[in-house]
């Protein structure tokens, strides 16, 4: 339920008029580098990409170093091998669709004398039933304009986790404040919610947000698309920590402890360290032209 705290900044805004923020220089020193696996793939009939990179200094505003000399193999249900070929810029690709709901995938990466492994099962995903566009005026937090929400119903049975991705004019919204994840159509596991239509804050988080974390209205002619990706509970936790950490600065004096994401990729032959996540999602989607 950490999301709810995200609403408190509205109130804090009013209070911390006395507060101020200054940019300061921080020297992080020299660090070793670690391998990072970016293995979020899905069942779409498009090119599937797994990216291998290295960690870099947090303040270095440059692309992280990429790995081009690894072998990446996917095995479906313990038998069918799907090789991923190196293309460019640390990307290893294979053409989809690679499987369907219920398939179990094993990822094996060989690099630098080490073997790295991870496993993922493709979980079910509900259809996006509709996208609603509504003109809202005189709303307390919102500029007058067109706002969207998507409708989908979580299937019966707990433990379904989702990543809802929004695309504006075909471009994925990668603003960390818009990272929209859900368990059983609500904020988190452990609430006992199940089988409902996604709750309003999650439905509405498909609207891009501005610097003050307030939704920006859509303009006529813009194309909005929503994809729901089924993810594992571990992937949900990975993304939840990732989001909390990326936007922790919004929390001011109520900051969460700085912690690391917990990936599911491990070295299966040594104790070499590796970071990152492997998840194979089933995807449902819907798009709409704003009029």
């Amino acid at each position: 339920m950490n999301n709810l705290i995200n609403y408190i900044p509205f109130i804090l805004l009013a209070l911390f008029i006395m507060a101020c923020e200054d940019v300061v220089e921080i020297e992080l020193g020299q660090q070793e580098e670690q391998l990072v696996i970016d293995g979020w793939i899905n069942n779409l009939p498009t090119e599937q990409t797994i990216t291998l990179s290295m960690t870099a200094n947090y303040f270095e505003a440059a692309a992280t170093p990429k790995i081009s000399d690894a072998t990446v193999t996917l095995t479906k249900n313990g038998s069918t091998e799907i090789p991923f070929e190196y293309s460019t810029d640390g990307k290893y690709t294979a053409m989809g669709p690679i499987g369907e709901v219920g398939d179990v995938f094993d990822l094996e990466i060989n690099w630098n004398g080490n073997q790295y492994c991870a496993q993922s099962e493709m979980n079910r995903v509900p259809a996006v039933d509709s996208i609603d566009v509504e003109l809202r005026v005189d709303d307390i937090f919102l500029d007058d304009g067109l706002y969207t929400q998507f409708f989908a119903r979580d299937p019966e049975g707990t433990g379904d986790a989702y990543w809802i991705k929004t695309f504006k004019n075909g471009v994925f919204r990668n603003n960390p404040r818009e990272l929209n994840i859900a368990v059983d159509a609500a904020f988190d596991a452990g609430t006992g919610v199940d089988g409902i239509i996604f709750i309003p804050p999650i439905r509405e988080l498909m609207n891009p947000v501005d610097q003050d974390f307030l939704p920006i209205p859509w303009l006529p002619g813009e194309l909005v698309k929503v994809e729901i990706h089924s993810i594992s509970l571990a992937a949900f936790q990975f993304l939840e920590i990732a989001r909390d950490q990326m936007i922790n600065g919004d929390n001011g004096i109520f900051a969460l402890p700085v912690t690391n994401t917990r990936g599911n990729v491990t070295s299966c032959t040594s104790d070499a360290l590796v970071i990152g996540f492997f998840n194979v999602a089933a995807v449902s989607s819907r798009e709409k032209l704003i009029e």
Partner: protein, 794 residues
């Protein structure tokens, strides 16, 4: 309800035991009574009674009561209290007597006050150590933030008290987290002591008489928290005449009325405060924000009645609330309520008793959604009821025995939430949790020799986590990660799910070398059965209290402290130095990414930690003359150890402050004008920095390759505050008195870091464009803050 039964039996034994002692001591006669302030009839806590010829004395208790038993004879008794004229009475003692004394305030503050030495060397002669008392007059003279007299801010000027940072709720005592302080308002616990997230405390200074902080050597009559007791006592109300106090400040307007109901027999006080930011802001808000609510208030009421010499009752109540609302779209409010009924009864001249009944409640309520088909309502609370009998038996002037018990019933409502999505309603409520806490204690304050005095005590605390509800069992998981639920057992109302009991020995020793020098030592074991679940840097009002369960063990701490106490220049200067070591077990910690709200299986997200804290505290105080004040310095270390955090190594806690220096001074320029200044210099607290960035799906996630916790210190904190108070002209025929207080907080506009955090740009960015990141220093107060307030009384 077995605890009750046990408690009653033990109390009965204690009573019988004390009666036997009464008979054995019958050759002595007793003198007792109450010591009060002559101006307003308020009882004085900790006033001294001294018998010159016998070199014996006693102090008044929390209710102003004292008792001395002596052999028959004629004595000179001196009554004294700091800041008051002492009185000497000649008493022919041939039978038990009651002498109530009223002391007048020392007439001219600027002249040297002549008070007998006995009262003034309390620093040295009192058995207590690791205890600081602040009277409300001192607190009122301190420089303030926005002109508001602040009790919780003032205790941060004392050695051993630290905080996560400016504006954070609560305080940390000797390495303890904020939930390890038992904050008592007339004996009822206050679960959230902050208004406005932590800027102001819930205590209205107009209604407060006395504030006492126990950091160590806590007597066995107190229990339930590991690290400290903050005992806030409310005024009883002027029993002589009508008194009205009020003030207009930048944040609050205050008004209090106190008056006798029956002169010298019954009185009351009503004190209220309300913030008025919203009232001032209203004209500036546009239509959208017109329904905005932003206010906080508190109301304190107390009344007392002297039924007769032997019986006195007090009833006190508090309610306070913070309200934030944005029309129907969203609302958030929280507050405490307490109600305390106390009955002082004298069983005999030497057996004083008090029974306290209290109820206390903290709750919050959050709602979103102006549309009935799509909304979310959420509230949570902790409610408790308690009975607490306590007896003090003044066996002889050298021996005071206290005994009693306490029983508390808790109801925890960790979250009731209803979510409505497109007209479909879902109840996300968690089951309430119930628990009963009980304790019995005995303590003996004994002068073994003229030089050696001890207070030895024992507290037996019991805790019963009960139904109605489910007791969950959790399976193993990798250290530092969520534990899965493996089974749930259902329990009936008051059926025990898990019991705990702990014996808590307490010991304080004082060895008095001479009139002006003493050594003190203390040991205490404390147990804590309820815990505030909070994993943010500063605690938020939505944090929830949880009981110890079959999965959460009681937190435990052992503390030893030794101290050297010295008064110099005929008690003009008080000096104390204390060294402490504290060991914590079963501290509550959190997995990474813990879900602490509306999580039925919260126990699976909690970890168990160890802690240790040690330090040196030094205090030098000057109490008399035009120039008064104190200097406090603490050198300390506070660490935590949790399996699965910081690579299984000890790490400093978020409020670890290596050096903490504060200087507080007061100077009376003239009879009307006084100045005060306070300066603090504190080591930067530790924070965690990420070292690296990792890329996932177009996001840049901070990552700490060392996997360390609190690995960097933010820059040191320092701040100077000044204030000037101009008292109104004292005219004999005019009752109205008005004071102007001018305060400047953070005089030289230092931007002290609350923390330094890493932030990334939220600008739209194509996946192949590198992300801009920066480090941000967050200063809660970024400038000097002048304020002016006006206080009046008539």
């Amino acid at each position: 309800m077995k605890i009750y039964k046990n408690l009653n039996i033990i109390l009965l034994f204690l009573l019988i035991g004390s009666n036997c002692a009464l008979i054995a001591q019958s050759d002595r006669v007793t003198i007792n009574g109450y010591i009060r302030d002559a101006d307003n009839g308020e009882t004085l806590i900790g006033a001294n009674v001294y018998v010159e010829s016998q070199s014996l004395g006693s102090t008044s208790n929390e209710y102003g009561f004292y008792s001395l038993s002596l052999s028959p004879g004629t004595y000179q008794l001196t009554y004294s209290y700091l800041g008051f004229e002492s009185q000497t009475k000649s008493v022919v003692l041939d039978q038990n007597q009651t002498i109530d004394i009223e002391l007048g305030t020392a007439s001219a503050q600027l002249e040297e006050i002549v008070v007998s030495a006995t009262a003034k060397n309390a620093n040295v002669s009192d058995l207590e150590m690791s205890v600081n008392t602040l009277d409300i007059q001192t607190i009122q003279k301190l420089p303030t933030l926005l002109g508001e007299v602040e009790i919780l801010r003032s205790i941060q000027l004392l050695p051993g008290v630290s905080t996560v940072g400016e504006g954070a709720a609560g305080f940390n005592v000797r390495g303890g987290s904020i939930d390890q302080n038992l904050v008592l308002l007339d004996e009822a616990p206050v679960y959230n002591s902050s208004h406005l997230f932590g800027f102001f405390s819930v205590f209205n200074p107009d209604a407060v008489k006395d504030v006492k902080l126990y950091k160590g050597g806590i007597p066995s009559r107190y229990g339930g928290r590991l690290s400290s007791i903050l005992d806030v006592r409310m005024k009883e109300g002027n029993s002589k005449k009508l008194e009205v106090n009020g003030g207009i400040g930048a944040i609050f307007s205050r008004l209090s009325v106190e008056a006798p109901i029956i002169k010298d027999k019954a009185s009351f006080i009503i004190a209220g405060r309300r913030s008025y930011i919203d009232v001032l802001a209203k004209p500036f808000l546009n239509d959208d924000l017109n329904d905005t609510v932003l206010n906080f208030y508190d109301l304190t009421v107390k009344t007392n009645y002297n039924i007769n010499d032997k019986n006195r009752i007090f009833l006190s109540a508090y309610t306070g609330r913070d309200n934030f609302g944005f029309g129907d779209a969203a609302g958030f409010n929280w507050g405490n309520r307490t109600l305390t009924l106390r009955w002082n009864h004298l069983f005999s001249d030497r057996l004083f008793s008090n029974i306290t009944l209290f109820a206390s409640d903290y709750d919050y309520d959050i709602s979103f959604g102006d549309d009935s088909a799509n909304k979310f309502d959420w509230d949570a609370s902790i409610i408790n009821y308690s009975v607490k009998p306590e007896l003090s038996f003044y066996l002889n002037p050298k021996n005071l025995i206290r005994f009693g018990g306490q029983s508390i019933i808790y109801k925890f409502q960790p979250g009731r939430a209803i979510g409505v999505s497109e007209g479909e309603s879902r109840d996300l409520s968690l089951d309430p949790k119930y628990a009963i806490e009980g304790a019995i204690f005995v303590e003996d304050e004994l002068n073994i020799t003229d030089k050696l005095e001890v207070n030895a005590g024992l507290r037996l605390s019991l805790f019963n986590y009960t139904g109605k509800g489910f007791g969950y069992t959790f399976g193993e998981s990798e250290a530092g990660t969520r534990q899965p639920v493996t089974s749930a057992n259902e329990y009936d109302q008051w059926e025990s799910i898990q019991r705990y009991q702990n014996l808590e020995p307490r010991l304080s020793l004082k060895y008095q070398m001479n009139e002006s020098t003493s050594f003190k030592a203390s040991f205490m074991r404390t147990a804590q059965y309820i815990h505030l679940v909070s994993n943010t840097a500063a605690s938020t009002p939505v944090d929830v209290w949880t009981p110890s369960t079959n999965n959460i063990k009681p937190q435990m701490a052992d503390q030893v402290a030794i101290g050297y106490f010295k008064n110099l220049s005929d008690n003009r200067y008080e000096l104390s130095a204390e060294l402490y070591y504290k060991d914590f077990d079963n501290l509550v910690e959190y997995i990474d990414g813990a879900d602490i709200l509306l999580n039925e299986f919260i126990e699976g997200d909690l970890l168990e930690g160890d802690g240790r804290a040690y330090g040196l505290e030094f205090m030098l105080k000057k109490n008399e003359g035009r120039f008064t004040g104190w200097l406090s310095y603490t050198l300390a270390k506070t660490e935590r150890f949790v399996d699965g955090i910081n690579n299984n190594e000890w790490y400093p806690s978020r409020f670890d402050q290596t050096h903490n220096l504060s200087v507080t001074t007061f100077y009376d320029l003239s009879k009307r004008l006084s100045l005060s200044a306070s300066f603090a210099l504190i080591s930067g607290t530790p924070v965690t920095f990420a070292t690296s960035r990792i890329e996932q799906q177009g996001y840049v996630i901070p990552h700490n390759l060392e996997n360390s916790r609190n690995n960097v210190r933010i820059p040191a904190y320092h701040r100077l505050d000044l204030s000037a108070t101009l008292k109104g002209k004292d005219k004999p025929n005019k009752r109205w008195k008005g004071d102007w207080v001018l305060s400047i907080y953070n005089v030289y506009s230092r931007r002290n870091a609350f923390s330094i955090y890493f932030r990334q740009s939220y600008e739209d960015r194509a996946p192949d464009v590198p992300l801009q990141t920066e480090a941000i220093r967050l200063s809660v107060i970024g400038n000097f803050i002048p304020s002016i307030s006006y206080n009046f009384s008539f």
